[in-house]
């Protein structure tokens, strides 16, 4: 929409909630005008390329940079020794300060940055990188998360928790362990209840290593000067980057400026601190602006989703009630902790699922291994858990010949029940979500399964999740003298549409069309603190902050009207108020808002808390499949995704978030996988690692939400972004079992896995490779 076409005249103000406002930045993006770090150039800027480790675990004996230094056009070849001269303690990370800016004496995964070349031209830098060589004394490596718990191979000599997280303090200086964090929850007495249960079930599930693959790879430009540093970076969390860069420099935060233009998606890959520390160090060394931008191939060595092994046990009474459940979850964190310990803890809280179980024992372990680090990926670990507990739920129902719907209904948590943590459930529409899934699947009708080569089946799954908490958002609303409105906040619009939703919230409060509200680009010199654009938290947290800021501005406008002698209820335009007050078009009205929900830390011994989350996300998925019994190919003929997002502030955006999340997870479910050979990724490119394309879409796909109101949410809303990822995998696995009677317990559910299971079931297993 061009500025002159502002639909002020056609759109009724004060009715911004529940309206499918087109994305405010959409036009700039589709016409190639939106700014991205990859396209930015600063005067005198150098470019950096990274030389990476070829071994999974080893001591660095020597690095030969001479040939690279002699390449014309190369200005610097940098190793950790050069960095340390300027940054004495060159380690970073959100939970642990365990990641060196460049490998320090040791390499811990194939692909770890060991040296960097600075040149005026990226091709020269690339060529010079090829001339660097390093010698390593190889050490035994550990790759598997379960093995890592008891292995004698230690990825780190000593744990280095960040001081920012009080609950990690006890881990400081621990040696001879790969265990970065264990989260524990104890409710009732699992052992006694399980021993006394009429039926006992025990299963193990695994998920593979996959990655985010935002279409814009990571990119950062650092411009260091003695007086201050500016970073232009593709980040989901500029406030955190500022804190961490200031810490590395020993500077106050106000000398560090982080600017974030648009992001070509993030999915959690661009959270916390990624390239920023190295870009800073390189700019300090070169005394020039430095751009560090990854290729798509390098993304495979930056951050991934956590592979996970989940051992789950359930005890049932004769009435079909789950009386005891034990969850042991092992998270493969890779070589550096990143936010893994938080994934371990926050996901661990809901590992027993949306079921009301009196006796629960949860142990969730974050483990170091010698592979690319793992971090947050659209769901913060919850999709891995749901994959296990909803497959497990179906397997129990199948074995006891219980109806999968009735079995779930009997054990479901409902509003007013205590969640496993002891928090009382409120505004969590779990059962309505399940009911809508079943309705859209026409569950009451029998499915024609077929008798030939193609067999059909259907399955569903349901889930809950907490929101990452306690986290803080701050917003500023600025009303200019002509009455136009700007929102200043550090929420990053990476394609999810946060700018549009926040404009709707501000517009609703100030009674102006969302299309007329401008959102300032995140810039820590200008936009206030936000914990990060992650975990489906922005609509709720920043939504509240923006609402509060707009309300304060609205109150100040009313005060201004009183000050200039306007009668109560006057509808004089805001610009006239400013003119009356200042004698010309001048001045501002500034409102600010800060939001941080209440929270009670889980008790360290029991993991229990009366308030672990300000809202519950819930979702469900139903799948119909057609399985080719001769080849194992699975066609998803129908996929129904249902979520509870409270009020849908922007229905169109809710729908696209649901479909995007579900399709992303469809790839993780059906075929995406990073293949490894001795720690080396063997398919590190989009030529060999495919994500779903248009032809991988299910035959029919429905993306829906239930009618619900989140009592403590802004206008009744809560988060959306990750919610539809949770249930895709188990819904499909349950459908495959329904179709052909085989149960897969490891992702992906690719044709060979299905075919092998079919052959095994027929008593004629296929030869191993």
């Amino acid at each position: 929409m061009a500025p002159t076409e502002t639909p002020a005249a056609t759109t009724r103000a004060g009715s911004q909630i529940g309206r499918s406002v087109p994305r405010t930045e959409g036009r700039d993006k589709v016409t190639g005008r939106a700014e991205y770090v990859h396209n930015m150039r600063l005067p005198g800027m150098l470019v950096a390329k990274i030389f990476r480790s070829t071994v999974a675990h080893g001591l660095i004996k020597s690095i030969d940079t001479n040939a690279a230094k002699n390449v014309p056009g190369v200005l610097h070849v940098v190793t950790i020794d050069d960095v340390r001269k300027l940054i004495p303690n060159p380690y970073y990370g959100p939970a642990f300060h365990d990641q060196p800016i460049l490998a320090d004496k040791k390499v811990r995964f194939v692909g770890e940055p060991v040296a960097a070349v600075l040149a005026s031209d990226p091709h020269i830098a690339e060529q010079a990188v090829q001339l660097i060589s390093a010698e390593y004394e190889e050490l035994p490596a550990v790759f598997d998360e379960v093995e890592a718990l008891t292995s004698n191979v230690f990825v780190h000599d000593e744990l280095q928790p960040a001081a920012t997280f009080a609950d990690l303090k006890h881990l400081k200086g621990l040696k001879n362990t790969n265990l970065a964090l264990s989260f524990k929850l104890r409710r009732g007495d699992f052992e006694r209840a399980y021993a006394g249960a009429a039926h006992r079930f025990e299963h193990e599930f695994r998920t593979q290593k996959v990655l985010h693959l935002p279409f814009e790879p990571h990119a950062t430009i650092a411009d260091y000067k003695n007086t201050g540093v500016t970073l232009y970076t593709a980040s989901q969390g500029p406030s955190f980057v500022r804190t961490e860069i200031a810490r590395l420099l020993g500077w106050p935060e106000n000398r560090v400026r982080i600017k974030v233009p648009y992001l070509g998606s993030g999915y959690g890959a661009k959270l916390y601190i990624k390239l920023e520390a190295l870009a800073l160090a390189l700019s300090m060394i070169a005394r020039k602006p430095v751009k560090l931008a990854l290729t798509m191939e390098e993304m495979f060595y930056q951050i991934t989703k956590h592979p996970c092994t989940f051992r789950i046990k359930s005890g049932l009474d004769n009435d079909g009630r789950i009386v005891a459940r034990k969850c042991e979850v092992f998270w493969n964190g890779g070589a550096y902790a990143d936010i893994g310990p938080r994934v371990t803890q926050k996901a661990g809280v809901t590992a027993s699922g949306p079921y009301d179980i009196d006796n629960v024992s949860i142990d969730s372990h974050a483990l170091y291994t010698n592979v690319t680090p793992s971090g947050a990926l659209r769901g913060f670990g919850v999709p891995q858990l749901v994959w296990a507990y909803e497959s497990h739920t179906d397997m129990i129902a199948r074995e006891l010949k219980l109806d999968p719907v009735a079995f779930r209904r009997k054990n479901l948590m409902r509003d007013g029940n205590q969640h496993t943590t002891s928090q009382v459930l409120k505004d969590a529409a779990i059962e309505p979500v399940m009911d809508l899934v079943l309705d859209r699947m026409a569950w009451a009708r029998q499915l024609e399964k077929g008798i030939g080569v193609i067999r059909r089946g259907r399955g569903f799954a349901i889930a809950i999740k907490t929101v990452t908490t306690p986290t803080t958002s701050v917003a500023i609303v600025n009303v200019s003298a002509d009455g136009s409105v700007t929102l200043y906040c550090s929420t990053i619009d990476m394609g999810q549409g946060s700018n549009t939703v926040l404009a709707q919230i501000v517009g609703e409060v100030l009674n102006v069309p969302a299309e007329s509200v401008r959102i300032a680009q995140p810039d820590t010199d200008v936009t206030p603190y936000d914990m990060g654009t992650l975990g489906s938290r922005s609509t709720f947290h920043m939504g509240h902050a923006a609402r509060l800021a707009a309300e304060e501005a609205r109150d100040k406008i009313k005060q201004l009207a009183r000050d200039v002698g306007e009668p109560e209820g006057s509808n004089i335009p805001i610009a006239e108020l400013f003119k009356k007050r200042y004698g010309m078009q001048a001045g501002n009205i500034v409102g600010s808002g800060t939001y941080k929900p209440d929270y009670v830390s889980p008790a360290p011994e029991t993991g229990l808390s009366p308030n672990v989350t300000p809202f519950w996300m819930s979702s469900g998925a139903g799948a119909e499949v057609a399985v080719d019994t001769e080849t194992g190919h699975v066609e998803i003929t129908k996929l129904v995704n249902v979520i509870d997002c409270g009020t849908a502030i922007n229905p169109k955006l809710v729908e696209t978030q649901i479909s995007g999340a579900a399709l992303m997870h469809l790839g993780f479910t059906m075929f995406e996988k990073m293949h490894f050979d001795g720690g080396q990724v063997t398919n590190a490119s989009l030529a060999d690692y495919k994500i779903p394309g248009i032809r991988d879409l299910p035959g029919t796909m429905e993306n829906l939400w239930v009618d619900n109101f989140q009592g403590n949410g802004p206008f009744g809303a809560k988060g959306v972004g990750e919610v539809a990822t949770f249930c895709v995998s188990p819904a499909i696995a349950n459908a495959i079992d329904d179709a052909v009677g085989v149960r897969l317990t490891e992702l992906p559910l690719n044709p060979e896995a299905v075919y092998r299971a079919l052959r095994a079931k027929a008593g004629n297993p296929l030869d191993e490779a």
Partner: protein
């Protein structure tokens, strides 16, 4: 290109063929069939009415061959000279009994596409030799099918490709060529399967026998798209399906 980008292939010299491109981008028809310049893009082949009329199997294959961006720049000569066993065109051209005109310092020679490949990314092309033209005999009513079997995303490289060109009447199969790719280290004619079919009438039992002969005559390569034992099963199934598809029969599903 991908290999150069990944640094796996580092040519000392690159020779641009752009200036001679216009001599090798035409598609012509004569009594024997099609002659396609080696630098003709796959998009041009896809959209050619002559190709559609005389070798519809090629037109059909284009629909699932990579994506429109690649087809806009990739050439038929490149698809052959690369020697990549995962390519879709080599088995199709082999099944159609296509041949090539090769040019080198000593002049021209003609080579059947079936004789081009010697192994994984290996061909008989000399270092100073170029593919100039591809000659495709007209299909002339022969029935044909190409089945691309992917095990990941639909748009992934195949785990198996099967091309079939067949002439069959109510009594017997008169002629048939079946070529497999991707599951093997090079595009490979399944001559035992062809022999099993030829002269016999198509039925379930015959197709099973041909498929059995097919999997016995080739070596399967394990990779991330499937283990060798699994690809063997895929071939067993898809030899039958491809013949049926060529004959427009659906088979038991």
């Amino acid at each position: 290109m991908l290999m150069m980008k990944a640094g796996v292939f580092r040519p000392a010299k690159l020779v641009s063929l752009r200036k001679i491109e216009s001599d090798y981008t035409a598609i012509t028809v004569d009594a024997r069939g099609l002659t396609i310049g080696a630098m003709t893009t796959l998009s041009d082949i896809e959209q050619s009415e002559d190709v559609r009329a005389h070798a519809p199997l090629i037109t059909q294959t284009m629909l699932t061959l990579s994506n429109v961006r690649v087809r806009n720049v990739a050439t038929v000569g490149g698809a052959l000279a690369h020697g990549d066993p995962h390519m879709d065109l080599p088995p199709v051209l082999m099944a159609l009994d296509a041949s090539m005109t090769l040019v080198g310092p000593k002049g021209e020679r003609t080579l059947p596409v079936a004789d081009l490949f010697t192994g994984y990314y290996e061909t008989v092309l000399a270092l100073n030799e170029l593919i100039a033209f591809v000659h495709v005999p007209a299909q002339n009513g022969k029935q044909a099918a190409y089945m691309k079997v992917t095990t990941g995303a639909v748009d992934d490289w195949p785990a198996l490709g099967i091309a079939v060109v067949i002439v069959s009447d109510a009594d017997a199969v008169r002629s048939v060529r079946i070529v497999a790719s991707a599951a093997t280290d090079k595009a490979t004619r399944l001559t035992s399967a062809e022999a099993a079919l030829k002269g016999n009438r198509i039925d379930d039992k015959l197709l099973k026998r041909a498929a059995e002969a097919a999997v016995e005559e080739v070596e399967f390569v394990s990779d991330m798209r499937g283990s060798a034992p699994y690809k063997r099963e895929l071939m067993r199934v898809y030899v039958q399906r491809a013949v049926r598809a060529a004959l427009n029969e659906s088979g038991e599903r």
